[in-house]
Symmetry: C4
Subunit: 232 residues, 4 copies
């Protein structure tokens, strides 16, 4: 069931423009909180159930497909270690989000549909503690540093790389990731026009709860699932 949703999550995130050849989405094992499921190293749009692996809290493979793992499973492992409330993680190179990570311009919610991102997204710069790297979060230490920037929040941007979304359930994480991308596009445009009136902290909190209600979240999930099965 959850594995079916994880396959769908991979393909939805690709189809909605959040993931391309890279990026990944995982879900905590509901029966063993020390473990999580994620695809083997494969483009998300192509992921099938037989590609899924079970990894432990250190990111080591303990079940599922025996293909090579993604290079950055440390991202997922670290967030699950630090955040017991989190049950799903998306790591993406969400295109419109990258300019914010690269400039330090704060990414905030410009409309209610993106409000569950929180009222501003912090930025993780791997160079601050690790100097010149290949930009990947490969070690437990690097994962810890990213998780520290994420803190108790939902989104963290990664300078020169992408972002992470961490949420209490898989469909909500997918929802936030999709609207984070759309929000970034709109903020890019709005800043060309003039000063932007973002949602207030109070609005972001109220709207963030509303927008992830089952009625709202599942309405989007139904649409995005149906779009997978259509040409175009």
């Amino acid at each position: 069931m959850l594995q079916d949703d994880l396959v769908l999550a991979n393909r939805i995130l690709a189809n909605e423009g959040v993931l391309d050849a890279f990026g990944h989405v995982s879900v905590r094992d509901p029966e063993n909180a020390q473990r999580f499921a994620i695809s083997r190293s494969r483009a998300p749009d192509l992921v099938e159930k037989s590609d899924l692996q079970i990894l432990d809290a250190s990111g080591a493979r303990v079940g599922g497909s025996d293909g090579p793992s993604y290079s950055e499973v440390a991202i997922h492992a670290a967030i699950y270690r630090h955040r017991p409330d989190v049950h799903a993680v998306v790591h993406s190179h969400s295109p419109s989000v990258i300019p914010f990570g690269a400039t330090g311009i704060p990414l905030r919610p410009i409309f209610h549909a993106a409000s569950a991102m929180g009222s501003v997204a912090p930025v993780f710069d791997i160079a601050e503690r690790f100097g010149d790297t290949d930009m990947l979060v490969r070690t437990a230490q690097q994962g810890d540093a990213l998780a520290a920037v994420l803190g108790a929040g939902t989104v963290a941007l990664m300078r020169g790389h992408g972002c992470v979304v961490a949420k209490g359930d898989l469909r909500s994480a997918v929802f936030v990731a999709v609207y984070l991308e759309r929000n970034a596009t709109l903020v890019l445009q709005a800043r060309q026009l003039g000063e932007v009136h973002y949602l207030s902290a109070g609005e972001a909190e109220r709207a963030g709860e509303m927008i992830l209600s089952p009625m709202s979240r599942d309405r989007a999930w139904e649409l995005w699932t149906r779009r997978l099965n259509r040409p175009g």
Copy 2:
């Protein structure tokens, strides 16, 4: 007949990029002006005839599908109460329109195809009277406040949320909503180039009448309907 058009309107607005998982379109009941038809809570691109509901002037369900209603039927109910000339309402998160609502930069028609929007779109900010909310227009009072900003016009933007289009017939409302989105994209681009020469009030009025003539409006409707049945 009108119900068939309402299903098509839902799918056209989704297919042309005005609606996504959210937003809705309604039409006043031609036989009972106190009622209107609208889908149950469902992504517009997936709406079928069996999803349609009949609501009364307070937004209460009096017929049709017994699924849950959209959270914002108060938008439609209020506009139909205040505007006897209006027979169709679109509420959308039309993407390129959102930056205008969030910055207060006036949205005006840059070309004749968008002229039926009127010569400038007012902005409704729910916080002005209702403080921090989840941004949804849920109550009759909130609907009244939105209808007051719309006044006798065709379009009102909603800060941090989207916009509404109100028009005398369904196909015209769809037409205005589609070209409102395209107009917003063009104004965003043009403002990067320099000062924009918008249509004058006289041009907007003359062009607005012409562009909603049956020959023009139905030419677009035929195209948009045909595009629904094609892959891509």
Copy 3:
């Protein structure tokens, strides 16, 4: 033969993003230079051979489909009257071109593929001589005024409306219209970066001849035709 190409021209221009529900393309009758062929009033993407009409130099229908004509056949009629060298005319609301007509920022070729547009596109503002109108070029006088701005050139922008492309053969007119749109997008982007080094007049002339050579022009035509028959 030429009629087949005219149907393809309609659909290519729609499929490549130059025409939407509006705009039209015509070709001079090779056997009677006082006449031209153009679709009846219909969205270009839907045009079939049976929709074609033959109009005379005043824009009156003298053959073909008896459906209503487009409201702006005066554009085509005027250009054919004033420009014996022209055998094909495209009138479009080419989206990225509209911001240039609305701001007066000169549209020039930024790369060789668009060079056949000439080294700069003049702008026709219907209000200059005709005051507040519905923006359409409906009369012979309005057509003459537009043709005067076009002069001996290939492209004229129309403020608040769109543009015209006039060329010696149909495939070349389509080619120029497609790359005019793409050029406008690129110029919009480049101007955000800094001062643009456009093609010089000498480069535009040499490249403009090269790019419309049969080998080049027909390579594009083959691609665009094949794309019509594919989903997506």
Copy 4:
């Protein structure tokens, strides 16, 4: 085998938005380093195995399809002459790259996926040595001048025209060309926000090696190949 990959490379580059009716991709003959394979003059999206030609180091046809060659085989011939380490060349009018060539604003990697482009792309301006031309690189001298600007690098922009990508193997050249285009879009956006923190030279070098590892490069190749066979 390599010919199959060359056909795929043509179609992938078209499908991913790097090539349109124009541009070409070639691969050095693994059995005769003085020769390379490239399509006859045809839109890349339509190229089939029977369209491939074998050219020698001067760009003369020595085998394969007897159709006319592209006008710019001198680009490929020159790079293969000057760069024994290069086994694949892409010449494109990659849209978002053109504004950088036309303004001289440096194009640098904003994220790790584009890092294999090198830390900055030099610009070739054909007018500097050859005055007003039709912008095409047609002669050995022009090819030499372009190869000199490319130097030992991977990418060179061409003012008013496009760019070249030169790499040690075909899949890597395709990878760099695709992410060069996406990087240009992101840099265009980021510069609107503020000062851009690009990858450092050390990061670009480390990430550039990582991103072209077989695991990474072939993950993208698998995705892009599968997308060819899908509608949309």
